[in-house]
């Protein structure tokens, strides 16, 4: 009985003229999005490689340890072919040096704003906008439409249990829509391989999970359509209700949730935090120099009155001064990291709130999970900053060790004395520094297992919503007036 009903449902979907049209469009869009994704990924990769080469070249031309700098460059992920997420919004690179803070700048969109005007079309966009719409288009009249045509009355003149009927409706429409969608998806994945994109084992697991969660979202909208259809009497009413639900879920709630969180929990801008740090740093240095001035004056007074200092005394004085300067530097650095940590903490709170609000819509849950799977989520920036912080420490240690080994070589010295006037000393010409042991930046990587942990919540949420919608459709239909 069940299989008969499923077969009937399948036939009615596959045979309808709108099926051919929508199937063709979905296929074209899925393939187009993957094709664009591959192109964008390739251009991002070549840009990444070029940037790396240029950095290597710049580094190799440097001649002093003091001014040596390096860069951390964000590596494109192959999964961004399917889910571009924030890959093009977040800065691509930062300078890593002793005296500059980490700041990822030059996002693709800020370099080429023309691409920011309409943003990108990728697989996750097609799933969350186009496929959900089609799921609803095929199911909104599944119950109310049959009632209007009078076929519902006919069916229940036979001994068909309602439970089986509604189950068959859901399964039938699901099969009729999911199987055809799988075809362009598989061709798209094949395209990825043919166009020479190298996917690692982890990427494959991510890709398969992404497809799984896409189908889950699709299933939710199929069942939602049936639920709405079983809750309304006329098909044009069920259509309107479904469409409003779709607009809310896809276009409004995700954005509104984030904006609401932005209003409830405002976060200060980076420019403000930087300005505050600069002001703090200026105050500290001023206090330091005022104090040093006094100390120097005391010292010279002491020396004039008593005797010339010995080398040892001079040395210990220099060390004292160095220690004082270091402590000021450390103090400022601490202040800065406290400020940044505070900013990040507030951003994290804002994020938690925003995403909880946005997750009222299953589409947001899907998109957030998809970004996690592609490593193009909001936390990507923090991950890169953390990795770069680690790298910066290694890099500074390396420079300090080298300077200790070879003696300090600063860029330029200016000496002023009452006898010789002003003299500018230059670093020895043509001297190269040995960079073979310089640490290299390693982009952060997450194992599939740790990613899956954060995706599981959304997976669970979507499953629960689908089951609830199904139960709702079931309950509504059992009481449905089939006349």
């Amino acid at each position: 009985m069940l299989s008969l009903l499923i077969e009937k449902e399948l036939k009615s979907i596959v045979m309808s003229p709108k099926f051919v049209a929508t199937f063709a469009i979905c296929s074209i869009l899925i393939l187009l999005s993957i094709y664009i994704g591959i192109n964008e990924y390739k251009s991002a990769t070549s840009q990444f490689e070029a940037a790396n080469e240029l950095t290597q070249q710049e580094i190799s031309e440097q001649s002093t340890w003091y001014s040596l700098y390096s860069r951390a460059i964000r590596k494109p992920e192959p999964m961004q072919i399917f889910v571009s997420g924030l890959a093009y919004d977040i800065g691509r690179k930062t300078i890593v040096s002793q005296n500059r803070p980490i700041n990822f700048v030059h996002s693709m969109y800020s370099d080429d704003p023309i691409f920011a005007l309409f943003r990108i079309v990728d697989f996750s966009f097609i799933v969350s906008v186009v496929l959900t719409l089609f799921a609803i288009l095929f199911t909104f009249d599944s119950i109310s439409g049959e009632r209007e045509k009078g076929t519902l009355k006919q069916i229940f003149s036979n001994p068909v249990p309602r439970a089986k009927y509604v189950l068959a409706k859901c399964i039938g429409s699901w099969l009729g829509l999911v199987v055809p969608i799988l075809i362009p998806i598989l061709i798209g994945i094949f395209l990825v391989i043919v166009m020479g994109i190298d996917l690692s084992g982890g990427d494959w697991s991510r890709l398969i999970t992404l497809m799984g969660i896409s189908l889950l979202l699709f299933s939710f909208f199929v069942v939602l359509g049936v639920l709405i259809s079983a809750s309304t009497r006329r098909s044009n009413m069920s259509f309107l209700v479904s469409l409003v639900a779709w607009i809310l879920f896809v276009l409004i709630i995700p954005r509104a949730g984030i904006l609401l969180a932005g209003q409830i929990m405002p976060v200060p801008g980076l420019a403000e935090v930087e300005g505050r740090t600069e002001a703090y740093s200026k105050d500290k240095w001023k206090a330091h120099y005022d104090k040093m001035e006094k100390i120097w004056i005391e010292r010279s007074a002491m020396h004039e009155e008593e005797r010339e200092p010995t080398d040892e005394e001079l040395w210990s004085q220099l060390e004292e001064d160095d220690a004082r300067r270091d402590s000021v530097e450390n103090d400022i650095e601490d202040y800065r990291s406290r400020q940044i940590a505070d900013l990040r903490r507030r951003q994290a709170m804002q994020r938690t709130l925003a995403f909880s609000l946005a997750r009222i819509s299953p589409v947001s849950a899907f998109q957030l999970a998809a970004m996690q799977l592609a490593d193009t989520d909001v936390d990507m920036k923090d991950r890169y900053e953390d990795a770069t912080k680690q790298y910066r420490e290694d890099f500074i240690n390396f420079i300090e060790n080298k300077q200790e080994e070879e003696g300090v070589t600063s860029g330029m010295t200016i000496s002023i004395s009452s006898e010789g006037g002003i003299k500018i000393g230059r670093p020895s010409e043509g001297k190269t520094i040995d960079l073979s042991e310089m640490p290299e930046f390693v982009p952060p990587e997450r194992s599939f297992a740790s990613v899956f942990g954060s995706v599981a919540t959304d997976f669970g949420l979507l499953s629960i919503l689908t089951i609830v919608a199904f139960a709702g459709a079931f309950v509504r239909f059992v009481r449905y007036d089939v006349r």
Partner: protein, 471 residues
Amino acid sequence: MLLTIIEKEIREIIGSSKFVLIFGSCAVLILLSFYVGAKNYKLNRIRYEAAQAENLRQFEGLTDWYSIQQHRIFLPPDPLATLVSGVSNDIGRTVEIEGRGEINPLGSRFSEDPIFAVFRFLDLEFVFGTILSLFAILMGYDAIAGEKERGTLRLSFANSVSRPVYILGKLIGSFIALAVPLLLAMAVGALLLPIMSVSLTGESWIRLISIGSIGLLYFGVFLTLSVFISSATERTSSAFLILLVVWISSALIIPRASVLIAGRTVDVPSVDEIAAKKNLYSRQLYGEDSEKMGSFVPENSEDFDAMIDEFNRFMGDLADERDRKMRELSERLNEERYNAQKRQEKLALNIARISPTTSFTLAATQLAGTSVEMKNRFKDEGEKYQRQYGDFIKEKTGSNPGGRMVVVRMSDEEGETPEAIDPTELPSFDFQQENLSASIDKSLPDAGVLVVFNLLFFAAAFAAFVRYDVR
């Protein structure tokens, strides 16, 4: 006769439950986008002022103008930019002014607060471009085919109604019935701005009204298109399906896909390449200069102050010369990139203009000052400010900023302490929008495209209906 038909159409639309539901959600969205825009603007304003205050605060207590470091200017928030965000959240907003050299705006909103980039903003451009076009389709898809299915079309033509008058009445009636409520919602939304104490200049009001008119024009394109498709099909379900496909491609796919694909066919030198060339040249110049520096011998080594002055002059001249050479190279490289970008823009956008949504977005962002050109505009304004700042510092200190050595001499005599500078004397950065008439001129071609679309679909609807089988 025409009037009766228009009246009938208006009554029919306004009385339908479909209208109530759809218009209700559109009105809520329009109001929400104004509300969110105003709120965001105020938040941005607070941030902007805080950043400015922190910037000035760091100079407090300084006693000489050339000790100013890390002087920053910021892109000021604009209420129109929060309503039609365009690229305003994607471009760098903060510039460090060093007094010489090329400026480099960094720190885009989306890069700093990626959370807002996840789903982007709910702005007026989105509501019009995506939602209202869908609204137009929903209200127009059954205009003819639906009446036919219900049999009312046959009834109408049992009377002596001429077809041209009927279709004209349909189009005018549905446009009035839908546009007037939308205008009301927009007017209420716009009223929210002064109520929430967001003040717009007269010029901004004109811009906002123009954006609204372009929006209505765009709405008209989808409405006439819907009536056209409706009178070219027999059944409402196929009319709707066709329109939905057109909507998805026009509003969601064509603008994105064509800009990405066409844009990539034009080779634009990357920012990294250009930066590397500049770095290389700058180091080369510095290397040459450091030789000259090494052979610097002061003429006067008796008077310490005169010696420092001479030294600073020497260093300043070298820096000025380096600056000039760098500027030449930068200008050349930037121009190359700029020209390539223009070519890219032209190709990509012209292809994208197949879709009326592209034309609408381009015209609206042009009017709001948030078009693709915004980045270069901010950079130009920033450079203008940098020159102004350079002149100011020169006036105060006698030499160009940068390349100067500050000598701090200690003494134990309790001499007079030097007076602190007043940081508020610094010239303030005043971002000038493109002037109104230029913006309007630039948005006219796209407005023209929308008018042409309207006329085209109108004529098509007319032609299709004259031959329509009303039975």
